[in-house]
């Protein structure tokens, strides 16, 4: 018992020295790191010259609701990057505004997905709290859309991204019905299911998704799961994260920090 105690003391002493050293080293590093998140993000995905190996990656996105200012730049950039039809009923990503009154149901809106901003005239003094929530395909590990696709036209790739094969999709829309998040739509001219790909054409070349690139407040973080130093791992460690509709067991790869219970 004594021995153990002694050891423990020793350990604590060492630990404190180590700890102070670690603080001295890590705090400035951490500050630097957060300041240059975009650099780090781009650097970790490897240089574009190397052949891309999907099996070595496991992507995820994290969204900090406290940081989102609802500017809609992500939804706008997404439409440009991916040629999403501009009509207000087709979105790969969109922003919802929640206004919780003192009593009663939260009021949610998303005019044109938030691309043109949110009207402020009608903000009422009865609002108890309000916040923005960006939404997109959750790239579920246990994706209902993949499960129900009758022909194998939507699938989870080796790097964990749920994709649509638009040359194989029959356009039955079962996947759209099966998605609990409303993340899919039928492309009005191509007549196939369409949705967020995490900008697969960008991430496989070491660039962040377009929405992450243009987000002015770093409310969206993208990166690799399971790597100690990746921005997403750090995000997960420093925030209490949740996923949407966890009770459906879809196991999403889009994580939210600061999501109120009203968010669904």
């Amino acid at each position: 018992m004594n021995e153990q105690h002694g050891q423990k003391c020793d350990f604590v002493g060492m630990d404190r020295r180590d700890f102070l050293g670690a603080v001295a080293r890590t705090v400035p590093t951490w500050l630097m790191v957060t300041a240059i998140v975009p650099e780090l993000l781009a650097a970790e995905a490897g240089s574009p010259d190397e052949k891309y190996r999907p099996e070595e990656h496991r992507y995820a996105m994290a969204i900090n609701i406290h940081k989102c200012i609802g500017c809609g730049r992500c939804a706008d950039a997404c439409k440009t990057e991916n040629n999403v039809p501009r009509e207000p009923v087709f979105f790969r990503t969109w922003i919802e505004r929640y206004r919780v009154p003192f009593e009663g149901e939260a009021v949610v809106d998303s005019p044109n997905g938030g691309i043109d901003g949110f009207p402020t005239e009608d903000h009422d003094s009865g609002t108890f709290k309000a916040f923005f929530v960006p939404k997109l395909c959750n790239h579920c590990s246990n994706a209902p859309c993949v499960q129900v696709c009758p022909v194998g036209a939507t699938f989870t790739s080796q790097d964990g991204v749920v994709l649509v094969d638009k040359d194989y999709c029959v356009g039955c829309r079962y996947c759209i019905q099966a998605c609990p998040y409303g993340a899919r739509y039928l492309h009005p001219t191509e007549k196939v299911a369409d949705k967020c790909t995490f900008c697969y054409h960008r991430i496989t070349k070491g660039q962040p998704p377009a929405c992450v690139e243009v987000c002015p407040t770093q409310a969206r973080v993208f990166g690799e799961m399971g790597e100690q130093a990746s921005p997403i791992s750090r995000f997960m460690r420093f925030n209490d994260v949740t996923v949407l509709k966890s009770w459906l067991n879809t196991d999403p790869r889009v994580y939210y920090a600061g999501a109120d219970e009203e968010v669904r």
Binding site: V89, F91, V108, P150, C169, V170, G171, P180
Partner: protein, 415 residues
């Protein structure tokens, strides 16, 4: 919703939404064609199960509708995949469901269930049942018809007693296989909806069973209609024991179906999960006419009362037939409303459980009302042609007796 709002929503570009919908949910993805599809397969399954009652369970009273049921089931089954096909974004890729079926997908199994049901159950049963007649017609008829029937015999022209006995036995075995197959065919359609966990209106273990019993209801009602109308058109007397039996079965089937639906309803109401608010809002506004009025009152309660009175009460046969006919028609309306409420109702509320949208039924588009009507009329045309080629009528039917003198000349002119 008042008239002005209804008009406005009709003419404006986007459907009128109350509360919040996810933006991708504004427009409904499954249209009226997907309502027609389970309606048609329900009729197939129901008609077949009715036929099997005669064959397997020896309900002799149903003999006059046995073959007619088989042909009706076949005519509707041939059309059943068309609404699905017309609805696909890429119909030309439809065969991918056979080439690379995804075994985890309820919908991918459709191809196989359908093929099994068409090839192994219905066609085989009809073939075995009609074979001796086909062989006979192949000998008697002339010209193109002779060729047609000869082809149908598939070269199997043996009419020995042993062969006929085998036909009978095979038919019976296939019917026995057919009953679970019919359950499978429509139960699985229910599963397509019932297994969507994202949708609280659909997600229910009872869904396949409710679908199945509503299929039986619709199938019996259809046969009641087809038999009575076809008899009248051919100027034959209606076999009263047969329609009485049909009405009796219809009465019981509605009773079971309604109980199951009530059970589902009470369960949802009692569990009162988070979706209950938006669903009750939907029922009392968007689905009021199609659910409360069409499905429950007109499609269930009125026919139930009517059939109960007509079958078990005392009244003249003409009155009885009239009530049966009306009840069967109302049941069809009710079952179509049931399919509508499932398919369209399941898409009218947001999966955020915060809002309701509207469905605007288009008139002439590929997914419009006209297509739906054409698809629902086509089985009757096929059935008409089939009754000409493979007459299902039983021997010994009586012509409708010529009415007394004063009208005799009139009838004579018409005939």
């Amino acid at each position: 919703m008042n008239i002005a709002m209804a008009l406005q929503s009709f003419f404006t570009e986007l459907p009128s939404v109350t509360g919040y919908m996810y933006p991708n949910e504004y427009e409904l993805h499954w249209s009226v064609l997907i309502v027609v599809y389970p309606y048609l397969t329900g009729l197939v399954a129901g008609a077949f199960i009715l036929a099997s009652l005669e064959r397997v369970f020896n309900v002799k009273a149903l003999q006059p509708v046995y073959r007619l049921s088989l042909l009706t089931a076949l005519s509707f089954l041939l059309i059943a995949p068309l609404p699905l096909l017309a609805h696909l974004g890429h119909p030309e890729r439809a065969l991918e469901m056979f080439l690379t079926p995804h075994t985890a997908s309820a919908m991918a199994m459709f191809g196989f269930v359908y093929a099994w049901y068409l090839m192994v159950v219905l066609l085989l049963e009809i073939w075995f049942d009609y074979r001796q007649h086909i062989v006979r017609w192949a000998k008697e008829k002339k010209g193109a018809l002779k060729w047609f029937y000869s082809l149908l015999t598939l070269g199997s022209t043996d009419l020995s007693e042993k062969a006929l006995a085998f036909d009978n036995k095979a038919g019976k075995i296939i019917t026995i296989i057919g009953i679970p197959s019919a359950f499978l065919l429509h139960g699985y359609v229910g599963f397509i909806f019932g297994s969507v966990k994202a949708n609280p209106w659909w997600s229910s273990v009872l869904m396949p069973i409710v679908f199945l019993f509503s299929a039986i209801v619709s199938g019996i009602a259809l046969m009641l209609l087809v038999y009575m109308v076809s008899s009248m058109l051919r100027w034959k007397t209606i076999n009263m024991p047969c329609v009485n039996k049909l009405a009796e079965f219809l009465f019981y089937a509605i009773l079971v179906d309604f109980s199951l639906e009530l059970l589902d309803f009470i369960q949802r109401l009692y569990e009162s999960e988070e979706s209950i608010h938006i669903l009750s809002q939907m029922i009392s506004s968007r689905l009021f006419i199609s659910l409360i009025i069409s499905q429950i009152i007109l499609g269930t309660i009125v026919p139930l009362v009517g059939l109960g009175l007509a079958r078990f009460g005392r009244m003249p046969d003409e009155m009885r037939r009239m009530i049966y006919l009306m009840a069967a028609l109302l049941v069809q309306v009710g079952i179509f409303a049931t399919r509508w409420n499932v398919v369209i109702g399941g898409q009218l509320f947001s999966k955020s459980l915060r809002g309701l949208t509207t469905y605007k039924l288009e008139m002439f588009g590929i997914e419009g009302l006209m297509t739906a009507i054409i698809l629902m009329v086509m089985p009757f045309i096929i059935l008409f042609v089939m009754t000409k080629l493979l007459p299902p009528w039983s021997e010994g039917e009586k012509d409708i007796p010529v009415p007394p003198k004063p009208h005799a000349t009139q009838v004579g002119q018409e005939a």
